[in-house]
Each structure stands twice: as structure tokens, then as C-alpha cells.
């Protein structure tokens, strides 16, 4: 049953539809509209430093919030009984199956100035809040959409922790803080790392969430790239250069993070 030639069609497919497109991005990034080699796409990028900073900052905040909520969630879930766990995991995955545009759109009716949250606030005679079209709303949209990507990988490693290891530590005199610090935390680290990756990358590159919840106030990398390819500012060369720089920055972030995790192999979500 070992037959390595079965991989040949897919290797060819990958070469054409995975590797070649990325090579094209690099080629576009280093050429001008007339086809000549140039670095101007990169040198003209300094005007977008703010966009880069904003994107990485908002994505970082969203990832931190996801971790702060998702880690305890996964930890608590893993301690529940079999039946509750199954239902809870299904409930976490269920929104993922609804299109994320719909989920983000739903927040619009909650966050608007005359939206449901503000109606509730004025009903209680509390001051209303301006929430939509702020960076905060964008972070909320990111957290809402990508929280399952944090919970699920952490949960899947937590679930596999052998309760006997914890009991053994307790028998040897460890209190619950020590058990958490010395056993649960290190064993759950691979899940945390893959969770961070799975939240950070879509957050830093999103363009739909910003357009729905951030209005015209927030321009992020995703929006910038999109306008270069589909929008009014059509310039795929500049767009490719921005995409390339974003890809490299993300790679650097991930490399630093994985170093921090001492090369633990990332857990796969499903």
C-alpha cells in the first residue's frame, strides 16, 4: 500500500496553485506597472506605517483578550463531565458554521448608537455609549469571531492531560497553584501557541470586520490590501508589496513565539 507516486498529482497541484502564486506576489512586489524592476513599492510604503502599527496593535489586543477568556474557558470545560463537554464543544463550534459575515453583521444592530445595547442603557437611565465605528468595536468583532479558535486547541490539549499526573503531583504535596504552574500550564502550552496563531493571523489581516464595525475610522492592513486589488486604488504591485511585508512580519512574530515555546509542535485543532 506504500505508493509514493500517488502524491505526484498533488505535488504538481501545489507547485502551480500554492508555490507559483506566492512567487507571483514576490515578482509583483518588486516590479512597477511597466514591468521594470523597482523598489518603489517598498519605499512608498512609509506612508502606511500607521496602518501596520494599528493592525498589529489591534490584533495583539484581540489575541490577548481571546487568551484571557479562552484559556479559563478551556480549562473549566475540560473539568466538566463527558456529556456537558460534548454539548459545550458543539455549542462553541456552531457559530463557526454560520458565515462570519452574518455574525459580524449581528453585532451592528447591538452596537449602533440607537442599537439594542444603548436602548437597554437608556431604559435603565444610564448614559449611552458610542460603540460602533470605534477601534474597540473592531477588537470586539475580532474576539467574537476568533474566540473559538482559541478555546478549541487549548481544550483539546487540556482534555488529554492524564488526571493521574495531577493526582501524583498532589500526592507529592503540590498545592493547586503549583499543580497549575508546573503541570497544567506547561502541558497546555502547545494548545496555547496554536490558539494564538489561529487568532492572530486572521485578526491582523481581516478586512470585513473593520468595514462593518469600524466604519471609515479604522483602516487596517486587510483593507489596504483589498483596495489595491479590488478597490478604487487599483495597484496590485503595491498591494503585493504590502502583502509580502505583512506575511514576513507575521512569520517573524510566529518564529519568536515558537522559540518562546521551545519548538513544541503545534496542536491541530480538529
Amino acid at each position: 500500500m506504500r505508493n509514493k507516486y500517488l502524491a505526484v498529482p498533488y505535488v504538481v497541484w501545489m507547485a502551480v496553485f500554492v508555490v507559483a502564486p506566492l512567487v507571483l506576489v514576490v515578482v509583483y512586489a518588486f516590479t512597477a506597472r511597466d514591468g521594470g524592476l523597482t523598489l518603489s513599492n517598498f519605499t512608498s510604503m512609509h506612508q502606511y506605517v500607521g496602518v501596520f502599527g494599528n493592525s498589529f496593535l489591534l490584533a495583539l489586543i484581540a489575541t490577548a483578550v481571546c487568551l484571557a477568556v479562552g484559556y479559563p474557558m478551556a480549562f473549566l470545560l475540560a473539568r466538566e463531565g463527558e456529556r456537558i463537554r460534548q454539548i459545550a464543544i458543539m455549542l462553541i463550534m456552531l457559530p463557526m458554521w454560520m458565515n462570519f459575515l452574518l455574525r459580524t453583521y449581528a453585532w451592528m444592530s447591538l452596537l449602533e448608537d440607537t442599537g439594542l445595547i444603548n436602548r437597554l442603557l437608556s431604559l435603565l437611565h444610564l448614559p449611552t455609549l458610542h460603540m460602533i465605528n470605534t477601534p474597540g468595536a473592531v477588537v470586539l468583532g475580532m474576539v467574537y469571531n476568533f474566540l473559538p479558535f482559541m478555546v478549541l486547541p487549548i481544550y483539546s490539549v487540556m482534555e488529554k492531560i492524564d488526571p493521574k499526573v495531577i493526582e501524583a503531583a498532589q500526592d507529592l504535596g503540590a498545592d493547586s497553584v503549583t499543580v497549575f504552574r508546573r503541570i497544567i500550564l506547561p502541558l497546555s502550552l502547545p494548545g496555547v501557541l496554536s490558539g494564538i496563531t489561529m487568532v492572530f493571523i486572521p485578526s491582523v489581516s481581516t478586512f470585513v470586520i473593520t468595514q462593518l464595525l469600524g466604519g471609515s475610522m479604522t483602516m487596517l492592513l486587510g483593507d489596504l490590501i483589498q483596495t489595491q486589488f479590488m478597490g478604487t486604488a487599483y495597484n496590485p504591485h503595491l498591494g503585493s508589496a504590502i502583502a509580502l511585508v505583512m506575511m514576513l512580519l507575521v512569520l517573524v512574530c510566529m518564529a519568536i513565539m515558537n522559540r518562546f515555546g521551545e519548538g513544541e509542535e503545534g496542536a491541530v485543532m480538529l
Binding site: 502564486p21 507571483l24 473549566l76 452574518l102 455574525r103 444592530s109 447591538l110 436602548r119 479590488m230 505583512m246
Partner: protein, 278 residues
């Protein structure tokens, strides 16, 4: 381990409230009689009726389902074959292949989208085709296959290599041995891969947006266009229907899976001698 106390349960309830509050609002306002996202004007099925007369949405729904089913089916067959190929390779080439295989999964969607768009536009100019259903399908297959491979490969690794040889010793041809012995063993992985592939295709917006061209449009693209123009509560009706369908599907799949696992456990228990049971 200790059981969760009141505070822990309350925390979990809050997280679920956060996850479901917007969906609940969507569902409630799909039955609204007036065209407001925030004011309740009485119960009505008006938007559902309109939804079923909206040919653009129905057409987009058909495109989405067609491309998702086709892409998932093709990716499942191709991905399973590729997984067997990868499994048979030596360490180094396999490492390289798996690294390339990981690219579409770890790269940001927008990068996969624009890079494929560049390729399709360039090839289209050379060969004389336009972006449309074909390029959309190719893009979906490309990002589906890696998930199938990652789902099938572990099952192949768990496989006892002796059973294939045993089948051949008993006179089965290679193909029969594969069909009768190997395939049933890796089938849960194959199904799981197909399911993930289908989910990824259904849920995708960004890659479709860049690769479908201006004539073809998936449901997500149609919703995106609607949110940029005027928003009709038809979107709420549509999301409610999708939610119900997905809920039903998930329940069916969960039941099926637990039944399959039980059957597999039973089969394994009767096939193997007790000493070999891990």
C-alpha cells in the same frame, strides 16, 4: 479533579451569552414586521417570503453549495491519495511536502486570495479565460486539500502495516486489499477530512471574493454586497434558516460519529486478541 463551582459555571455561561447574544438578536429580528434592526414592530414571516423570491440570493446559495460539495468531494479523494503518497515517502521529501501543504492553512486568507487572483488573471490573459466558477472551484480545492491530508495522515500512521500484507498473503490483489482492509480503517479520518473541507468552503468569504470574478457570487459575497448597500432583514431570515440547518446537521453528525466510534471499538475488540490491545 475538582468539579466546577458556581463562579466557574457563571463564567462559562457568560461566554456562551457573548457567543449567542448576536445570533439570538438576528433570529428574533428575522420575524420583525417592520424594516428595522432595533425596533420591534410585531411578528411576521414577511422577510422569509421575500427571501424565497430573491433570485440573487437563491442563485448565490446554489453556487455556494455546488462549489462546496464539489470542492470537498474532489479534495477528499485527491487528499486521501496524496496522504498515502506522503506516508510512503522518505522523511526528507515528506517534510518538504508537508511544509508546503501547511502554507494555505497558516497563511492569512487574504494572501492566499490575492496570490491566486494574480495567478488566475495572468493565466487567463495567456489562455483566454476569465475569473469565474472554474477559478473559484480551483481555489476552494486548493485550500481544502491540506485539511483532508492532515486528517487522513494520522490514521495511516496508526495503521498496522501487517494487515495489508496479511490480506495479500490471503490472495487479495493490491487494490482489493486496499479497498477491503486499509480503507475501512482510515475511513473515519477521510470522513472527518471531508467534513472539515466542506465547512471551510461554506464558511469562506475572503478567498472566494478574490477568485470568483465579477459574474460568479457565493452567498458570503452576496451578503457582503448587501451589507455595503442597503441592509434588508432578509439577511436575518437567511441567517436563521442557516442556523437551524447547521444545528440539525451538527446533531446528526454527532450522533453518527458516536455510533461509528462505538461500532469501531466493538470491531477492534473482536478482531484483535486481548494481548495486542493497547
Amino acid at each position: 479533579m475538582k468539579k466546577n463551582g458556581v463562579f466557574s459555571r457563571a463564567f462559562m455561561a457568560l461566554v456562551f451569552l457573548f457567543l449567542y447574544a448576536p445570533i439570538f438578536v438576528l433570529v428574533v429580528f428575522s420575524f420583525n414586521a417592520i424594516k428595522s434592526r432595533t425596533t420591534w414592530g410585531g411578528f411576521s414571516l414577511h422577510w422569509y417570503v421575500e427571501l424565497f423570491h430573491n433570485t440573487r440570493i437563491l442563485e448565490a446559495l446554489r453556487t455556494t453549495l455546488t462549489v462546496s460539495v464539489l470542492a470537498a468531494a474532489i479534495a477528499t479523494v485527491a487528499g486521501t491519495a496524496a496522504a498515502i503518497g506522503f506516508y510512503s515517502m522518505r522523511r526528507r521529501p515528506r517534510g518538504i511536502c508537508l511544509a508546503v501543504n501547511n502554507i494555505p492553512m497558516t497563511n492569512a486568507d487574504i494572501i492566499t486570495g490575492v496570490s491566486l487572483m494574480l495567478l488566475f488573471v495572468l493565466l487567463g490573459r495567456q489562455l483566454g479565460f476569465k475569473l469565474g466558477f472554474g477559478t473559484l472551484l480551483i481555489a476552494h480545492i486548493t485550500f481544502d486539500i491540506p485539511y483532508v491530508i492532515l486528517s487522513v495522515l494520522p490514521k495511516l500512521r496508526q495503521l498496522d502495516p501487517n494487515i495489508y500484507e496479511a490480506a495479500q498473503d490471503l490472495g487479495a490483489t493490491g487494490l482489493t486489499a486496499f479497498r477491503k482492509v486499509v480503507l475501512p480503517e482510515i475511513m473515519p479520518g477521510v470522513w472527518n477530512g471531508a467534513l472539515i473541507a466542506f465547512t471551510m468552503s461554506i464558511d469562506d468569504f475572503v478567498i472566494s471574493y478574490f477568485t470568483a470574478g465579477s459574474k460568479t457570487s457565493t452567498l458570503a459575497m452576496e451578503i457582503y454586497a448587501m451589507t455595503r448597500r442597503r441592509i434588508s432583514p432578509q439577511i436575518n431570515a437567511l441567517s436563521t434558516l442557516l442556523f437551524v440547518v447547521v444545528l440539525a446537521l451538527l446533531v446528526v453528525i454527532n450522533l453518527r460519529q458516536s455510533r461509528q466510534e462505538q461500532a469501531a471499538r466493538l470491531r477492534r475488540a473482536t478482531l484483535r486478541s486481548p494481548q495486542k490491545e493497547r
